[in-house]
Symmetry: C2
Subunit: 418 residues, 2 copies
């Protein structure tokens, strides 16, 4: 894409009301727009990142047999009364609204209730199990404070998958598959090396849940990492008893981290309340055993910014970068412009995603600063100097110095890595 056509522009000023690094960099780069506290729109560059994350998650959910659906934001109170989650004293993050006839409705903050209700139409027999269903859908949460940029917002898309099994044994098998799928997601999104499977508080049906926590200094959570076993424990359940139970010894490192995903055994909490049962092979009636598995693509995006950015700007992993290459044409020399256009056309023809800074009357310094702020993995510069050396200057975003190579070498470099 030609940057001269992109409607967003970068900004030098830091928004005064933003305290989080992710919001500051994403707003300055034109990735997102703040509508109000905790409510952000996604502009073209931001939406490209968001969709790449969404696709990675979708592929991993499909790979474990998840079937995709979309449920609704508007929620019928009757279902939530049955699970005792309608009352604002019990759940304090509801946004509620009303129909014209004054009937109260809720805006879903999660979807166990409506999905359990849908599945009553389709699960009757042991033959219908196991199955798992997921969606990418907008949640609304009436958070009192929202000051972590896109990491904790009042309106956000969440991937929530729910599993339906015959019993705990079948559930545990699926749960382990989901764990691996989650590890794949964080690995593919470029924060696998910073992300730990973390023991956290459970519920009535399981001793623990599992979180995936990514180490960043600005994280809201405190975790204790055991490097030998590549595992962590959330401060809330970090006890000598648990350390012993997990056989993890005493070698832990305390750190701040962000929860980028969680998986949870629900057991029969919702199937009991909403009467989701199946007939066993012997003809008995049994409640379905459930699990839930959440990831917020925007929180993952914000975490990548927080964890990987440097003081010049964002550093996107290649898998989720809006474009793989940021091509810069420097100066007003017509030969340079012509050569930069040729490089652009060649990359586009080879299906390499490239943002082309073809803007006139922008100084080299500003173009370099924008490239650092926007954070594409490869910066490719065409200038009088690179043309004298008969090539283009290529530099990775996380490298200090670039080198001049030929266009053919550039194509090999970019293709070898993709």
């Amino acid at each position: 894409m030609r940057q001269s056509k992109l409607f967003t522009k970068t900004k030098k000023e830091v928004p005064t009301d933003e305290v989080s690094k992710n919001a500051e960099l994403l707003i300055r780069g034109g990735f997102i727009h703040k509508e109000m506290a905790g409510v952000y729109s996604y502009l073209p560059l931001g939406l490209r990142v968001f969709k790449k994350i969404e696709n990675i998650i979708r592929e991993e959910m499909d790979a474990i047999g998840g079937q995709e659906i979309t449920m609704t934001a508007l929620q019928n109170p009757e279902l939530w009364k049955k699970t005792d989650r309608w009352n604002d004293q019990k759940v304090d993050i509801w946004f509620k609204t009303k129909l014209k006839n004054d009937t109260e409705l809720g805006l879903g903050f999660t979807h166990e209730e409506p999905l359990t209700s849908i599945m009553k139409n389709y699960i009757n027999s042991y033959r219908d199990l196991p199955c798992s269903v997921y969606q990418f859908q907008t949640k609304f949460r009436n958070e009192i404070r929202a000051k972590s940029g896109i990491m904790r917002t009042r309106e956000f898309v969440m991937k929530d998958l729910y599993s339906f099994c015959k019993d705990e044994t079948e559930h545990n098998k699926f749960y382990e598959k989901a764990k691996e799928a989650y590890k794949n997601i964080f690995q593919r999104a470029g924060i696998g090396h910073l992300t730990y499977l973390t023991y956290a508080g459970g519920g009535s049906f399981s001793k623990f849940s599992h979180e995936f926590q990514t180490v960043t200094s600005t994280g809201e959570d405190t975790i204790y990492i055991n490097e030998e076993n590549n595992i962590a424990i959330n401060k809330e359940v970090f006890t000598d008893e648990l350390k012993k139970e997990l056989g993890l010894g005493d070698n832990f490192k305390e750190t701040k981290a962000v929860e980028v995903g969680n998986i949870f055994t629900l057991g029969t909490r919702f199937s009991d309340a909403l009467d989701l049962t199946y007939q066993t092979e012997k003809g008995d009636k049994k409640p379905v055993f459930m699990g839930s598995y959440g990831i917020g693509p925007a929180r993952l995006m914000g975490t990548v910014v927080e964890a990987l950015a440097d003081d010049k700007g964002i550093i996107w992993p290649e898998s989720i970068a809006p474009f793989k290459v940021h091509l810069l044409s420097l100066g007003e020399d017509e030969n340079v412009k012509k050569q930069a256009n040729l490089v652009y056309d060649t990359l586009v023809k080879k299906n390499i995603e490239v943002l082309f800074d073809d803007r006139d009357e922008i100084s080299p310094g500003e173009k370099f600063a924008d490239a650092d702020l926007l954070g594409m993995p490869f910066r490719v510069v065409v200038s009088a100097r690179s043309m004298k050396e008969k090539g283009v200057e290529v530099k990775k975003r996380n490298e200090e110095k670039g080198k001049v190579i030929s266009l053919d070498e550039l194509l090999n470099l970019l293709k070898a890595i993709s």
Copy 2:
């Protein structure tokens, strides 16, 4: 996909509270689930159709230079007060809600206000124009009655594109391009032959807007079609004066139709109210000239069902069908099952989308009825009879009789058409 793994199942009963054909067929087929009046979830088969429609629309919007973003449902009242659209007396379809501190928020029913506000950050000069921006985003409309299935709902995804131009001349050029893009969309979605560009009521800045109206007996609108010119006029503006003005003669046919899209000249209604201006080449300040362009993918989906279904079920156009082929394995004969699996594997390997009815203990009659209800374009049957004739029986959904052909012939047939 193997139908034995699909979690949804078809139903014989018609939901008693549904009066529309689209909801009846889509619910019976397991495409959608009704959460409450005017609020529907999309199940796997329905979501596949929805996404294919979305992709067609996205390709056509990208082709005219639209840049994709996503705005939010939660709306800040301040913006809407400036355009005089916050008051419930003026706009009677708001859903409103509240933050914890009692600040009132709205749930967006359209997005002129927030986008105009975003563009104030990015449009300064004539060099920033023209540009156009679109999204697929969930709208909320507090409709008093909602009885048209997925055609008119309280929560639905809409593609809304907004254009920003220097003046009316530049706007008119873009408007014509958008018109053609819309024609392409309906053509590609399989209802081009039933859909008419229709003159409808305008606003303060244009004499008319344009609707795209699809002929169906259950439509809410009445239009007058002039076949020679392939154009229609909405009843609300059908006058002798207009007929003369458009030079359309007197040969009109009255019919019921559904509005599947509309395009609208906004002029400076929103840029004036929200102060979206640009500097001209001469240095003057002028308001930006805007247009809006809407399509609801779900309404399009419902319209396809209403317009093309027969008394046995849905007939999907190939471009938006959940699967191209419905493969049926009939009976419990092991050789038939083996052959059907071979056909399935072959089609999957050739990247042909196929739903494989591999379910045991389901009678041929039930499988045929399901295939008719679900409406894939090609039905392919493997049975003892087809195997005796050394082939598979293929029948298009809208044909009366099938014919037995070899697997190679089937592949050629399906590939030739894709």
